[in-house]
């Protein structure tokens, strides 16, 4: 099964990277969900929580305050000004 390669980077450090089944984020226009096979997108993120469902682990959320994210050929790069992984 196809999966997403997710990378989350903040301005001054690396946050998380791994394989995921689903990424849900809040863009400035509304919510966006990314599954494997999504078309290439560049989206501006709104402040709020971002949800990631890794392939093996339980889903977790990351709090971001603005930034953007790009999807291309199942590679998701989330570039946040500041990102904190919420404790499950």
């Amino acid at each position: 099964m196809a999966e997403l390669q997710v990378e989350i980077v903040a301005a001054d450090h690396f946050v998380w990277a791994g394989a995921a089944k689903l990424v849900r984020a809040r863009s400035v226009d509304g919510e966006i969900g990314v599954l494997p096979g999504h078309i290439p997108t560049l989206t501006v993120l709104a402040a709020g929580d971002l949800e990631i469902e890794p392939v093996s682990d339980a889903r977790f959320s990351v709090q971001v305050d603005g930034g953007f994210f790009s999807v291309d050929s199942d590679r998701v790069v989330i570039v946040a000004d500041n990102a904190v992984v919420n404790a499950a």
Partner: protein, 297 residues
């Protein structure tokens, strides 16, 4: 004891306590440098991701953004100079300031007015001493810059960039910082920050890779609006981090040289001290012998 000997003793004492300070500063700089380099490395993923995204937008959409358009006429230029807060770092601040002077001279020759922004107390002292004007100064954290400061720098610079010439705005922005090449080479570097030239190659992204056709949400313009300030942030932050690493490397080298020189001085004074002591003993001996000779004859 002779006065000469006392003087030498004092010199040896003060030099050896200085040497202790130099050695301590060298060790501190050496231990911080690793951390500074890690921070430079840690900021790379963000810089790479953002450069890639900006390139993607610029290559697909017709970019017509105020930040990327060259003004018809450049009448005033801003120069941001990044130096250190503290001295004892060899020629670190001096060489940045020298580079900045060159740039300012060049800009003046082209008939542009120059507005300066300073980072670091050394630059401030340099400008204050020559009673030159500067628009704004940031001090206090040159050896461990925070991302918030980079953002503040960007906000101030962009505000000026957006202002008209008549109201004191600027048409282009240059940054003078020190590029950290390796532990032994740091180079004062000038980059033109604005108007932006979106070129790849600043960061290592394979250029033969084809960028996918992105969909932009909400729209290419708005994505660009959000991206460009971040791109500038990341470049400024990177410049700050490299300057910090360079400062520490320069300080470590300067302190090592100072410590070595102090060691040599101590050696030299010790020789002179021995010499003086021996001369005194010789003199006393010859006085005694001369006295005995005078009595015996």
């Amino acid at each position: 004891m002779g006065a000469q000997i006392r003087v030498y003793r004092q010199k040896i004492n003060s030099t050896s306590s200085m040497r202790k300070i130099f050695k301590a500063m060298e060790l501190i700089a050496a231990s911080r440098i690793g951390k500074a380099r890690t921070r430079v490395a840690a900021s790379l993923p963000y810089a790479n991701a953002i450069t890639r995204a900006v390139t993607a937008v610029a290559s697909q959409a017709d970019v017509d953004h105020p930040l990327t358009t060259e003004p018809a006429q450049i009448r005033r230029a801003a120069v941001l100079i990044m130096t250190s807060d503290r001295g004892l770092a060899g020629s670190y601040s001096a060489s940045v300031l020298k580079q900045a002077e060159h740039l300012v001279e060049l800009l003046r020759e082209e008939g542009k007015e120059v507005k300066t922004y300073l980072v670091g107390r050394k630059a401030q002292a340099y400008f204050d001493f020559r009673s030159r004007e500067y628009a704004r100064v940031w001090t206090g954290e040159t050896d461990s810059p925070r991302f918030e400061t980079a953002r503040e720098l960007r906000e101030t610079l962009l505000e000026d960039f957006a202002t008209d010439y008549e109201q004191g705005g600027v048409d282009e922005i240059h940054v003078v910082y020190t590029q950290f090449k390796s532990m032994v080479t740091q180079e004062p570097t000038v980059i033109r920050l604005l108007p932006l030239e979106v070129v790849e190659g600043e960061t290592e992204t394979p250029t033969n890779e084809l960028l996918p056709l992105y969909e932009f949400e909400p729209s290419p313009d708005e994505v660009l609006d959000a991206l460009l300030p971040r791109y500038i942030d990341s470049r400024l932050f990177n410049a700050q981090l490299q300057s910090a690493a360079s400062e520490l490397a320069a300080r470590q080298r300067a302190m090592k040289a100072a410590g070595d020189n102090a060691g040599e001085l101590i050696k030299k004074y010790t020789r002179l001290l021995n010499n003086a002591r021996q001369a005194e003993i010789t003199q006393e001996l010859s006085e005694i012998i001369a006295g005995a000779d005078a009595l015996g004859s």
